[in-house]
Amino acid sequence: VPPDAREQVTALYQAHALSLVRLAKIMLGDQSAAEDVVQDAFLGLYRKWPSLRDRDRALGYLRASVLNACREAHRSATRRARALLRAPAAPDIVSAEESALIGEANREVMAALRALPTRQREAVVLRYYLDLNEVQAAQAMNVSRGTVKSATSRGRTALARMLKEDQ
């Protein structure tokens, strides 16, 4: 690892880690797991730093790494979403403080979001939360741009239907 790797990766962490943990928490619903995912992503970046061809795109690499790790927990997240919908106040899922912060209506949306298939969920979050353009989202998801479009559209449609069903 070149001498500047530690310094540069640390600088990237200071600049972007918070938003990446937030992204992971949106995907996973659990801050501890989100922090772990992001730590792993930066560690991976540190290891690959010498072979990274385009360091200006390190943030894209980190986003993709975080999403990959979140996919690993995808099934768990889906189960959590089901649990949320069945028992929204489950204390092991959402703390009282957090429940108050997020609000019932928002929690309902988040539960629906986490019930989406992984690709749709990722696409919706990347577009709505990070405001990534199509190319950036495709790079983060490692899919084609058409897939981003399709997944975003389908995810939005499914969310609308789900939330309408619940009203």
């Binding site: 928490k25 099934r75 929690r107 490692n142």
Partner: protein, 460 residues
């Protein structure tokens, strides 16, 4: 409150609950590759492909629509599967028979380029494996109907950040008679224009022309309204014979294909036209699109034009799933496969883990996997329903069915059914894929064993 605002507000509120995070913990040794110096981390599950869920993983395979058929059927092959026979040129004698060979392209890494393996469908036995030229990787593959001729796209070695389906060259692969070796030579078909991605690929039944479909400018800034291009090349000369572009505000994309391109375009069995899968995309607002999958047919006998839609006829429109009662009640097509008769499409379905009503009874809630045949009005008939897998208590079964190859009428197809047990913890069950032949409502597994997580294309 609009749904868009509800989504943004909810996501923003959730993100705002993260207020502080721990500092970065890098290993103390500046040479982290040295054994024993890295901090011990929680082990990852073995199958990295599960990082891509079932739906994505099977899409990554990017199943191929090719028309390899054989003259003879004999021996203990599964029902309807061809056996390798003498080389023939021209159109196969019976295009309804399952191809005798299939091609597998492995998943490349930055250090390891993708290999191409040709194997026997009936036995799963590999015939040979080809390494790509130096500093390149194989990307996609398509086959002619003579059971001997393949065209392989050559891609650059992937970097960590690269997207798949960049094409820097094209190779022609011919399997020698009796499958005794092969010849491989570079075609003079030009590389795809810079910053384009291959979305569809099909070799004509007689192997003389190659149809390639690509997005013209994937790096364009949004809103994207650029044209997609369908081009036919002469295999012999490499010259572009015809070019069409989507001139409307719609974008042509491969439906659900992450990589691989052979399933999106199909030559009609008579060689006089092409069928292609289209994600009709309507820009409905900032960063929002309405996407509708469709199948169109391009008649090459008509006077050649340049407008892809104007020269084509819609075949299957809007074959989407049905969402009711809080769940997808019939699943959606994982991927459409345009049939070579130009009259329809077939697909497998994905079970969709969207279960918003919170039930834990997965078996009763998730729609069963099935293979379907769509006709022109968007209606479909079920060709086969995959028997529901039994899940242990506390677990569910999720999965996806995809079509790998279909006869021109869609009456016979090769598909893959991928399922996995899903539990409530991070401990996910093993991922199982079965490749089989579906004919006359009968599903016959094939002895083809591939690690889907290590494959980018499985082409028949």
């Amino acid at each position: 409150v609009s749904i868009d605002n509800r989504i943004r507000t909810a996501i923003g509120a959730t993100a705002a609950t993260v207020r502080e995070i721990p500092p970065l913990a890098l290993p103390p040794d500046p040479r982290p590759a040295r054994p024993g110096r890295l901090p011990v981390r929680r082990p990852r599950r073995g199958w990295s492909g599960w990082l891509i869920p079932v739906a994505a993983a099977v899409a990554v395979i990017a199943v191929a629509a090719t028309l390899v058929a054989v003259r003879t059927v004999s021996g203990p092959a599964p029902h309807g599967v061809g056996q390798p026979g003498p080389a023939t040129s021209g159109v196969a004698a019976n295009p309804n028979q399952v191809p005798a060979y299939y091609a597998v392209i492995t998943k490349p890494t930055a250090a390891t380029p993708a290999d191409l393996t040709i194997a026997e469908t009936a036995t799963g036995k590999p015939l040979f494996t080809i390494k790509p030229p130096q500093n390149t990787s194989f990307g996609s593959v398509t086959a002619a109907a003579d059971d001997r001729t393949f065209v392989v796209s050559v891609a650059p070695l992937p970097s960590d950040l690269s997207l798949p389906m960049v094409v820097v060259g094209w190779d022609l692969l011919r399997v020698n008679p009796g499958a005794a070796g092969y010849t491989l030579r570079r075609l003079s078909i030009p590389a795809m224009p810079r910053k384009t991605l291959l979305g569809g690929l099909a070799l004509s039944p007689d192997g003389t022309e190659l149809a390639a479909l690509f997005d013209s400018d994937p790096a364009a800034t949004e809103p994207f309204e650029g044209a997609a291009t369908l081009r036919i090349y002469s295999v012999a000369s490499g010259q572009a014979l015809h070019t069409w572009q989507s001139v409307s505000k719609q974008t042509l994309t491969a439906l659900g294909a992450n990589s691989g391109a052979s399933g999106t375009v199909a030559w009609l069995a008579n060689g006089h036209g092409l069928a292609f899968v289209w994600d009709a995309t309507e820009h409905t607002g900032q960063n929002l699109w309405k996407v509708t999958p469709e199948v169109w047919r391009l008649d090459l006998a008509k006077p050649p034009g340049t407008d892809l839609l104007a020269g084509s006829t819609p075949v299957v429109m809007n074959p989407t799933g049905v969402f009711a009662g809080g769940a997808w009640v019939n699943g959606i097509c994982s991927r459409l496969y345009a049939t070579a008769d130009g009259n329809g499409a077939v697909c497998g379905t994905e079970s969709m883990l969207a279960v918003p009503n919170g039930t834990t009874d997965c078996q009763a809630t998730l729609p069963p996997l099935a293979f379907r045949a769509y006709s022109g009005d968007g209606s479909y008939r079920v060709l086969y329903t995959v028997p529901s897998a039994k899940a242990p208590k506390g677990k569910c079964v999720d999965g996806m069915a995809s079509v790998l190859w279909a006869s021109p009428s869609g009456s016979t197809l090769v598909g893959v059914v991928s399922t996995a047990l899903v539990s409530g913890s991070l401990d996910l069950g093993p991922f199982t894929s079965v490749v089989g032949v579906l004919a006359h409502g009968r599903w016959t597994p094939l002895p083809i064993h591939v690690q889907l997580s290590q494959v980018v294309e499985l082409a028949f």
